[in-house]
């Protein structure tokens, strides 16, 4: 198989989905962010965003901490080391494929 095609086939499917790619890229640049921030930046509704986060959490790419900001519930998200490494590899492979 051509190496470029191989690189496309090797892309991490968890990250490659556009919605999850947005979440991972946004979290990659920060220490942590809350659910509201991701919703605002991605334009996704709560249900869709929650399902993508659950998928990333299952892959151990994201950690979710439920807390409070005063009396208001707050969901804080951050990328795990595995998530950061996978995203860096994903970018390298994507660059190679393109």
């Amino acid at each position: 198989m051509n190496s470029q095609i191989q690189a496309i086939a090797d892309l991490d499917r968890v990250i490659h989905e556009p919605g999850r790619l947005m979440i991972v890229a946004l979290l990659f640049a920060v220490d942590q962010a809350d659910f509201l921030y991701l919703q605002h930046e991605t334009g996704m509704n709560k249900g869709t965003l929650s399902s993508h986060i659950s998928r990333l959490e299952k892959a151990e790419y994201v950690t979710v901490v439920k807390t409070y900001r005063g009396k208001v519930p707050q969901t804080l998200l951050s990328l795990t080391q595995a998530g950061r490494t996978s995203f860096e590899q994903y970018r390298k492979k994507l660059k190679k494929a393109l």
Partner: protein, 219 residues
């Protein structure tokens, strides 16, 4: 790939989504200006020439900005905590540029060369480039502010010397520094701070107008 890079840049630009970043720098600039004015026009060993007013002012600004973010921005468009490394390199860059520039101008001053015009032009260009890179890339109308920063520098650089000298009067600073340079610094700093206050104020107004806190329910 460009889209991924744009996504990676979004959290950096988010800091000034509400204009509070610019407002803080503008208020800081005006406060420093007032403090510097008081330092220039009061005796060398007065309260204003000590370090406490500056420390109190910086602490007030830090906690003031934090309070605005916590009460207005986070409930409306979300909370972001930045990596410490994000602040490191810009700080190193700024300190290096400031040190090299200060050394250059001090050398010129020692040799009796009038450095007001080059200082204004280089300073103006530096601030405009920093502003363009940090702020205007995210919001296109802010390029007007970047050009305003350059224009203000050019105007101050070519103002007649007597106008600039009149700003410092018979201050103690004239014993140690070129009075024309001090006057140019005061005037340019005021113009820069005003531009940032106006730009930040517009951004803050637009932010309040276009965003509202979502209804609270489960996430």
């Amino acid at each position: 790939m460009d889209d991924v890079q744009a996504l990676l840049n979004r959290p950096k630009f988010y800091y000034n989504i509400d204009g509070v970043g610019e407002l803080a720098v503008g208020v800081m600039g005006m406060g420093y200006l007032l403090l510097f004015w008081l330092q220039v026009h009061s005796p060398l060993h007065s309260f204003w020439n000590k370090l406490y007013p500056l420390v109190i002012y910086v602490a007030g600004l830090h906690y003031g900005t934090k309070a605005v973010k916590q009460r207005i921005t986070y409930p409306r468009t979300g909370f972001v905590s930045y990596k410490k490394s994000m602040a490191f390199w810009p700080a190193v860059f700024s300190i290096t540029v400031a040190s090299v520039t200060a050394f250059g101008f001090l050398t010129l001053l020692r040799h009796g060369v009038d450095s007001t015009t080059p200082a204004c032009l280089i300073g103006g260009l530096f601030f405009a480039v920093c502003y363009g890179y940090g702020m205007a890339r995210a919001v296109s109308w802010k390029w007007l502010v970047a050009w305003g920063i350059v224009l203000a520098a050019v105007v101050v650089a070519f103002l007649p010397g007597r106008i600039l000298v009149s700003l410092t009067g018979d201050s103690w600073t004239a014993r140690y520094f070129d009075a024309k340079l001090v006057g140019a610094f005061l005037l340019y700093w005021m113009a820069l701070s005003m531009l940032l206050l106006i730009s930040g104020g517009i951004s803050f107004f637009l932010y309040l107008r276009h965003t509202q806190a979502p209804a609270q329910d489960g996430e």
